[in-house]
């Protein structure tokens, strides 16, 4: 761990050690290649009893439950749950708007901390982790791997990527839904400055593909509060036209637009069963992640 995190500014070893106390679990059964901590849709050899099934020719006679035969004089086979690993895909919005930060750190920096920590925790428990950086398309795409050495390239990608350009998050999420062949845990980190209606279709698409989706919507305090005093020329960080406005005069309507959009996003997330977390960039990422992990731990067990 030290070798991987020592030189990364966005990782805190102490925070990671505290977060490691709570395992990262999936809310939905995963189809992993090896044994792991996550529920699988198949029967396996874990210690957790699943069900009795009638013996059929071809079954291994060693799995016949003779105690049940003694009671019922019928042949039953005892089945157990299977545990497997998962494929975690981290999708980070690296458009220009993620470069905004009024409280010292940008939204991208915050996203990098969350993504890096999740990647470390997943690999540590044997899960495969991949990364997709999205701006005006997929900027960086690292397929999921579960070996610890894979973290180095993932962290390098996080460190080297700079937020710039417009966002094409919606098409990329659709593309991701099609390209991931197996069930996966998809974690999206973005400010979601896109139309809410378009978000619905892409999350429904991902859900249809049986992916476990988690979303971190990152917002800067200044974006939420809009505390400006003087007339301001707002230059679009994604290359759009600038807007000249008197904040005193427009603040009311800005807040109304912000409120409407956030409410719409929240509704979509709830209706599409997305594990949604809104994050202020001045919050502690450790606390956000701890809430995320604990929330998932309570929700595990479905197969």
């Amino acid at each position: 761990m030290n070798r991987e995190t020592g030189s990364r500014s966005f990782l805190d070893a102490m925070a990671l050690s505290r977060l490691a106390a709570v395992p990262l679990v999936s809310r939905r059964p995963m189809l992993g290649a090896v044994s792991g901590r996550h529920p699988s849709p198949h029967r396996g050899s874990s210690v957790e009893f699943a069900e009795y099934r009638k013996y059929v020719p071809g079954d291994d006679p060693r799995r016949v439950d003779w105690r049940a035969f003694g009671r019922t004089e019928r042949y039953y086979v005892k089945e157990f749950e299977a545990d497997t690993n998962l494929r975690c895909c981290l999708v980070i919005d690296t458009s220009g708007s993620m470069g905004f930060g009024s409280a010292g750190a940008t939204k991208y920096a915050c996203a990098r901390q969350i993504a890096g920590s999740l990647a470390y925790l997943a690999v540590q428990q044997g899960d495969a982790v991949g990364l997709a950086c999205v701006a005006d398309g997929v900027v960086t795409n690292i397929p999921p791997r579960r070996n610890p050495a894979h973290l180095t390239s993932l962290f390098n990608a996080l460190e080297n990527t700079k937020p710039a350009g417009p966002t094409q998050l919606i098409p990329v999420l659709h593309e991701l839904a099609e390209s991931l062949r197996q069930r996966a845990m998809i974690v999206v980190l973005s400010d979601f400055f896109v139309e809410a209606d378009e978000l619905r279709s892409c999350f429904e698409h991902l859900r249809f593909r049986k992916h476990d989706i988690s979303v971190f919507q990152l917002l800067d305090p200044q974006e939420l509060d809009f505390r400006f005093q003087r007339p301001t020329r707002f230059v679009d960080m994604e290359g759009g036209p600038y807007v000249f406005a008197d904040p005193q005069e427009i603040a009311d309507r800005y807040h109304r637009a912000l409120r409407d959009h956030l409410a719409a996003v929240q509704l979509i997330m709830r209706e599409t069963a997305v594990d949604y977390h809104r994050v202020r960039t001045d919050e502690s990422y450790e606390r956000v992640l701890m809430q995320f992990l604990i929330g998932r731990h309570h929700g595990r067990g479905q197969r």
Partner: protein, 659 residues
């Protein structure tokens, strides 16, 4: 709106300061790289609604707050009426004060009369407006009184109530003369009056000339009419019309006639206790007024046999006007009425001789003496009541004697001579006789006053029956009393300071007119002139307040009530003794007429002049003018509070706005 410090209004452009600051603030914008552009664009697309109005309201509140501050420092005056004197101080302020008895009308709840309230309002208002010089022209003396301070001026006895009528044309003439003589600078003329028609005399010939004169003045003259035109709601006025002593078999009796007039609601019966005082003896008689007027005719009161003359008083209880609640009278045995008829044709003046010699009252003796022109020099004027001159106008010593006679309140009637000459007397000159093909009757005459007035019963004299066949023209400044259908003046009065001079433009012969056969008009006119002329001869006289000359030191007040300086006794109601004569001074007859000048009439009188009308009421509690800078200061504070409230961020903003 007017201001005491108008020069501070020059700072009014400062109201643009908030706008300037707003523009500078707009210009000093900052540039920010912004991620959440979608919210900004959405906000721009939204209807601005109240947000834009709020911005305008904030700016308006700031502008108005600055304006309020500037106005407060300018010390604005509130008056309930606009167009008061602008803040600059006038050079001279002339106050024309109507002191007539009608100005004594008061409101029961306030207890102050119109005159008192007017004085109080003027003192308060003009004290704020200020002036270099103050001049008072009161309605009685009509002479300018100057003072450096307004308070002193309005505290003079000349500003107190009097019993004399006002005459606004004369007062304005006095104001004009003062302005012209003293070459004043910018002048404000304040007129405090109750707009009585009788006081304003809107038909007076001087009005038009005065308007032109004021317009032509080089300096700016502004008029301010402080009007108290409320008519009394319940007022009764009492007036003695006649007090004559008659000899009877039992002794002497006083025959007293009086009139009670009632203003306001006249549809109900009103019971009035009439207090009568004769030489200190008082009695009360209750009378009932059913309509607007009650006439008491020849009420008899026995007198002490030894007494031939005396005085008395009639009074009624207090009502809305205290000045018309009592009336003084004096009585005496009527003096003989002696008339002189000077004629060049004694045979042709028989009708005049008869008209002057037959008394209308058997108690009164009438005498007439017919003289030739040459005998006129020897007339003894002391006991002459009326001179009738039916010859060429007098010249030399005779003319001078006649002029002196008129100055001693004598009455003269001129009739045309057979042959008009170039001689001139009393401003009159006969021109030539004019024979009319068909007799001409009288078209209009003055029926409300003077010789041709209606009778006491209200009936008009039969002037329409007169037929004029010959007419003698005359030149002179006269006031027409009767006019023929062809526009010529038949009867006229020559304006004089004292006495009376009448002109009749036709003779009494059959060739001239039918005045001899229809002799009612001639008889009434001659008898009225004779009675008026004889009035000055008796030991008692009824005088209209203000009509007599200035009272001399010989006047002594006999009545208990009364006020004013001894030099002003002639304008204050009361009974006075001058030498051996008793004088009863009362308000003039027209003071009992409550007719008010209409607004349009007032506007016409001041047409073309800078006039502001201020209608004040007795019941009103507010002052004419008061400083209202506090109001502006309060308005400014309120505006600043409104501005602060509008600038406050809304609570949603404070909490971030996120759901």
């Amino acid at each position: 709106m007017s201001f005491l410090q108008p020069y501070i209004l020059a700072a009014l452009p400062l109201i643009g300061l908030p706008i300037l600051i707003h523009l500078i603030n707009q210009w000093r914008y900052q540039t920010v790289e912004w991620g959440a552009m979608m919210y900004l664009l959405a906000a721009h697309r939204m209807s601005r609604g109240f947000a834009r109005i709020r911005q305008w309201l904030i700016l308006a509140a700031r502008v108005l707050a600055v304006a309020g501050l500037v106005f407060a420092f300018s010390r604005p005056l509130s008056s309930g009426w606009l167009g008061l004197v602008a803040g600059s101080r006038s050079d001279t302020t002339i106050i024309l004060l109507d002191r007539s008895p009608s100005m004594a009308q008061q409101d029961a709840s306030q207890g102050a009369s119109k005159l008192q309230r007017g004085r109080q309002q003027l003192e308060q208002a003009l004290g704020l407006l200020r002036s270099s010089k103050w001049v008072l022209i009161d309605s009685t003396e009509r002479r300018p009184l100057e003072s450096e301070t307004l308070g002193n001026l309005l505290a003079l006895p000349q500003a107190e109530a009097s019993s004399a009528s006002a005459h606004l044309p004369t007062m304005l003439q006095a104001a004009y003369d003062y302005i012209k003589t003293n070459q004043t600078g910018r002048t404000d003329i304040w007129i405090c009056s109750d707009l009585r028609q009788s006081d304003w005399d809107a038909d007076h010939g001087n009005w038009a000339a005065m308007r032109d004169a004021f317009r032509d003045l080089p300096q700016q003259v502004r008029f301010h009419l402080l009007a108290y035109d409320e008519t009394p709601t319940a007022n009764v006025a009492v007036r003695v019309t006649q007090a004559i002593v008659h000899e009877t078999g039992k002794g002497r009796e006083l025959h007293l006639s009086a009139v009670l007039t009632r203003d306001g609601a006249a549809d109900s019966t009103l019971s009035v206790p009439l207090e009568l005082e004769i030489d200190g003896a008082r009695s009360v008689h209750t009378v009932e007024i059913a309509g607007s007027r009650l006439e008491l005719k020849d009420h008899r009161f026995p007198l002490d046999r030894k007494e031939t003359r005396g005085w008395g008083r009639v009074a009624i209880p207090a009502d809305s006007n205290l000045a018309d609640n009592q009336f003084y009278f004096v009585y005496d045995l009527p003096p003989p009425r002696r008339a002189i008829l000077v004629t060049e044709v004694p045979d042709a003046v028989r009708p005049l001789e008869l008209a002057a010699s037959i008394s209308s009252d058997p108690e009164i003796k009438c005498q007439i003496e017919v003289l030739s022109v040459e005998q006129a020099v020897s007339i003894v004027w002391e006991d002459v009541a009326l001179l009738m001159w039916h010859a060429a106008l007098p010249e030399g010593e005779v003319r001078q004697s006649i002029e002196d006679f008129v100055k001693r309140d004598g009455h003269v009637m001129f009739f045309p001579p057979r042959q008009p000459t170039d001689s001139e007397a009393m401003g009159l000159r006969w021109t030539a006789w004019e024979s009319l093909e068909t007799p001409v009757s009288i078209e209009r005459w003055q029926f409300d006053a003077d010789l041709l007035a209606r009778t006491q019963s209200g009936a008009a004299l039969p002037l329409g029956d007169l037929q004029i066949r010959r007419y003698c023209g005359f030149i002179g400044d006269t006031t027409s009393l009767a006019t023929l259908r062809n526009g010529k003046t038949l009867f006229a009065r020559v304006p004089t300071d004292r006495g009376a001079v009448y002109v009749c433009a036709t003779g009494t012969s059959e060739d001239d007119s039918n005045m001899a056969t229809n002799a009612v008009v001639l008889y009434v006119a001659v008898q009225r002139a004779l009675a008026a002329g004889a009035g000055r001869l008796g030991a008692t006289r009824q005088l209209d307040a203000g009509a007599s000359s200035v009272a001399g030191p010989a006047w002594q007040r006999l009545s208990q009530e009364g006020e004013g300086l001894s030099t002003q006794y002639h304008s204050h109601a009361g009974v006075y003794q001058a030498d051996e004569r008793l004088l009863a001074v009362n308000r003039p007859d027209q003071e009992d007429q409550a007719k008010i000048l209409a607004d349009t009439q007032v506007d016409n009188l001041f047409q073309g002049l800078d006039m502001v009308r201020i209608r004040d009421r007795l019941t009103g509690g507010s002052n004419l003018v008061q400083e209202i800078w506090r109001m502006f200061l309060m308005a400014m504070l309120v505006l600043l509070l409104v501005e602060a409230a509008l600038c406050l961020p809304r609570w949603r903003q404070a909490t971030g706005g996120a759901p």
